[in-house]
Amino acid sequence: MTASEIQDGVAAIIREVLDNPTLVIDANTSAAQVERWDSLNHLNIVVAVEQKFAVKFKTVEIEKLRNVGELVALIERKLAVKG
């Protein structure tokens, strides 16, 4: 799976969780820029990402992420480890 495909999947989850189908999301998008992306929805987004990509995160990993691009990169690394 390419980084672009992962980012598309992540963006779809974010739009669904935040109930905002027209939200524009790129690698630089961060929670602080987006309405309703609070800590609770952040948790909902990350759990949905875990399920979609069959990966698991630690709280400390998630807390370090600054934007969508870093989340995509983290998913890429986890998928690479799984092989």
Partner: protein
């Protein structure tokens, strides 16, 4: 259908209602991912009708400890330090009621205004957790007023003179609390200092044969509860083994 005695039927029903497991299913602390568990924890307990956030395994442990001290004649009352909506202490009172025990008191100790702010220099991970948005906005630092807890007791017809409330910070309320001997002490104050304050003020009152239950002993991401417990046990020569209830909750039975 299994022919359960009325005591078991009553206490099993209480357990399921207090933990919101009558028509819902609690998050799986043993098998779910860390984040999935937190998501389920918020939905099931914080935003749900649960009156305790203990999983059912901890209720089974609590019941077992109390029934053992009753059966073995271990003298003393029961206390929980840190009660949230009161579910654990309501269950304590229900067990006494179910067994017709009238000479033991349930002590309900809490600030009733949430967790105290940890000292950031001494306890950095606790201070960091304390300041997070989810702790402030979603958990509200686990603050539940004493009136709400008393209403919860009353809803189960268990608010009577065998229930006593200790309102305030543990360091202020526990030293002079007129508990007398204790048979079960259940510590759920989360943080290092709350655990130390409870152990240092209450353990000397715990009867031989009584139980000390540490709800957050296994937590190491956001609290130093384990360190507080281990230091206290070492300083006081407590060698009774710590017994696992689930990944977070442990207890020991006082042998001497």
């Amino acid at each position: 259908m299994e022919d359960k005695p009325a005591v078991d039927l009553y206490l099993d029903l209480m357990k399921k209602v207090l933990t919101n497991n009558l028509f819902a299913r609690e998050p799986d602390i043993e098998n779910e991912s860390e984040l999935k568990f937190v998501q389920g924890f918020i939905k099931h307990y914080i935003n749900g009708p649960a009156i305790s956030m203990m999983p059912m395994a901890r209720f089974d442990n609590l019941r077992s400890c109390i029934e053992n001290v009753i059966a073995d004649g271990v003298p003393g009352s029961l206390i929980e330090t840190g009660v949230w909506r009161g579910g654990g202490t309501i269950f304590m009172r229900a067990i006494l009621r179910a067994h017709g025990v009238t000479d033991r008191t349930v002590w309900v100790a809490d600030s009733f205004e949430g967790l105290p702010t940890p000292d950031a220099d001494k306890f950095p991970i606790e201070a960091e957790a304390h300041g997070k948005e989810v702790m402030r906005k979603t958990y509200n630092h686990f603050a539940v007023g004493i009136e709400e807890v008393q209403r919860n007791f009353a809803a189960f017809e268990l608010l009577d003179d065998q229930v006593r409330f200790l309102k305030g910070w543990f360091k202020d309320t526990l030293p002079a609390a007129p508990t007398g001997p204790l048979a079960v002490m259940r510590l759920d104050g989360d943080y290092y200092q709350s655990t130390v304050d409870a152990l240092s003020n209450l353990y000397e009152r715990l009867s031989v044969g009584g139980y000390a239950i540490i709800d957050d002993y296994g937590e190491d991401i956001w609290t130093y509860c384990r360190r507080a417990t281990d230091e206290f046990r070492q300083q006081h020569g407590i060698e009774e083994p710590m017994i696992r209830v689930d990944p977070m909750c442990y207890y020991w039975r006082r042998a001497r």
